[in-house]
């Protein structure tokens, strides 16, 4: 399969099965676009001879045929049964998301966690649950050395003491089990004081701070119980944290809704505040006045394209800015096995609720039908959820099998599929449209930069 597209004056082709990338001229672009699956030089000459001249088209076809021979266009499907076996043989946990606080001091309009409470009473995770979870991960991560724990909520810093004790305990377990824990935290930023900033900068390998962009946009969605917006405090705290963080990873992440479909303005607002690692993502879900529907999609796709061009100019002018969804590593990137299953929810990745229940991922927490055991007794999964999640991948999902973006996307978000289509096997179409566009944007930026440096 070959995907050819045009953006920002560049004509680009992706060979789906190898991940090869080509920069095209107008003729080869039109030809490849007309033949997504099987190439036929004779047909191409018939179709385009008149438009571009028979000799030119023949020459173009010859180049295409050469690349086919070299295995860089229309390369055959990878060995599907082998890939499937490789997925089935995957074992061992990789990461846990600890919901250390089902409570929040903000009441964000779009919160999927029902204002931090996850449809249940407000709760903090006790130390024993956190400790048991870390032990479980250390003992059940197989041969892997690198394992990960994300402190999540609600607002995790409400339970800062337990976080600190869990990290200390993790350090002990590292020695005992010969593992390396990576700790990360996702915070709304409102509780960041000097002590917590220093702590995070020292012990958290990554920190995600939520900021939606322009003050009016942010404050309309992310406010305290008394209705006051949280923008001012967060910007101050995030700047303070990042200025003292050195080279360690962080990112500022926000959500866009249909109220700021011009979200590239928000990305650049955050960049102008001095941040270089930014993620602004579409709100998940449906049914509320701010949610994204079909009619917003053309505007959003156009906005992504504008954003890509603007970031490209910004980088070329010597500035630094990484927009997470445009970060694609064309030249390195992960192995095929990693690309098949993406997040690994339900088998490599699990979420733990404050009371210690395992769930396939943080977005399923609070849905009793998704409980998969607990940290005290281990996995108890009579419904076979873990297997269901494992079997749900780009080799099995009808929609993904035929999608050019599959090895970049890895099959989308199960939670998004489940909450929109009632099944983890049916990706959310709107999410797919946005995902494919973001991948095209990322490829365009890479192509633009490589052609420039060539």
């Amino acid at each position: 399969m070959v995907h050819a597209f045009e953006m920002n004056g560049f004509y680009i082709a992706v060979d789906v099965n190898t991940g090869s990338i080509h920069s095209l001229d107008r003729i080869t672009y039109e030809i490849l676009k007309a033949f997504p699956y099987d190439f036929s030089a004779d047909k191409a000459i018939q179709m385009f001879g008149e438009k571009f001249g028979v000799e030119e088209v023949k020459e173009a076809c010859h180049e295409i045929e050469q690349l086919i021979e070299q295995g860089m266009l229309y390369s055959p499907d990878l060995d599907q049964p082998l890939l499937m076996r490789q997925i089935e043989n995957k074992s061992g946990l990789k990461a846990l998301c600890l919901h250390v606080a089902h409570d929040c001091n903000l009441t964000c309009e779009y919160c999927f966690a029902s204002k931090g409470s996850y449809c249940s009473e407000r709760r903090l995770m006790p130390e024993e649950v956190a400790f048991k979870a870390l032990e479980y991960l250390a003992q059940n991560s197989g041969d892997r050395k690198n394992i990960e724990v994300d402190f999540f909520g609600g607002e995790p810093l409400i339970n800062f003491e337990v976080i600190k004790r869990a990290v200390d305990y993790g350090k002990e377990l590292e020695k005992q089990y010969n593992k390396k824990f990576y700790f990360t935290i996702t915070t709304n930023g409102t509780l960041l004081d000097e002590e917590k900033i220093d702590y995070i900068n020292e012990y958290m390998d990554n920190v995600v701070i939520s900021l939606d962009g322009r003050k009016s946009i942010h404050d309309a969605m992310r406010y305290y119980r008394n209705g006051k917006g949280s923008y001012d405090e967060i910007v101050d705290a995030a700047r303070n944290l990042v200025s003292r963080r050195g080279n360690k990873s962080y990112y500022i992440r926000g959500t866009f809704t249909n109220r700021n479909l011009d979200f590239s303005e928000d990305v650049f607002h955050i960049a102008e505040l001095g941040f270089e690692e930014i993620s602004i993502e579409p709100v998940v879900g449906g049914g509320q006045p701010f949610h994204i529907t079909d009619k917003h999609i053309p505007i959003i796709l156009d906005q992504y394209e504008r954003l890509a061009k603007r970031i490209l100019d910004y980088i070329k002018a010597g500035n630094k800015l990484k927009f997470y969804h445009f970060n694609i590593n064309l030249y390195g990137g992960p192995c095929i096995q990693r690309r098949l299953v993406a997040c690994g929810a339900g088998f490599e990745y699990l979420a733990v609720s404050p009371e210690g229940h395992f769930y396939p991922c943080h977005q399923f927490v609070g849905q009793p039908q998704f409980i998969m055991g607990d940290v005290f007794k281990g996995i108890d999964d009579p419904k076979g959820l873990s297997e269901q999640f494992k079997r749900c991948n780009i080799l099995t999902k009808e929609k993904c099998k035929d999608c050019w973006a599959k090895y970049f996307c890895s099959g989308g978000c199960h939670a998004n599929a489940y909450y929109t289509n009632g099944s983890i096997d049916m990706p959310n179409e709107l999410a797919c449209l946005m995902q494919r566009k973001r991948i095209e944007c990322a490829l365009m930026m890479e192509v633009a930069l490589s052609l420039e440096s060539a």
């Binding site: 080509h22 920069s23 860089m72 490789q86 995957k90 390195g332 977005q363 978000c413 973001r438």
Partner: protein, 46 residues
């Protein structure tokens, strides 16, 4: 070549044999936390 310039020769197939060690960072694509695209994952072996 005059019409096509290859910028990257993909190696997905080769990783069939050597990949899958499971040491790279976990990633979540959802709009609520780590949003790193899988395709930007750094391989821990390289």
């Amino acid at each position: 070549m005059k019409h096509i310039k290859t910028l990257h020769k993909g190696t997905l197939k080769d990783s069939l044999k050597n990949g899958g060690c499971g040491e790279c960072q976990a990633s979540c694509q959802s709009a609520c936390k780590t949003s790193c695209t899988v395709a930007n994952q750094a391989c821990q072996k390289q």
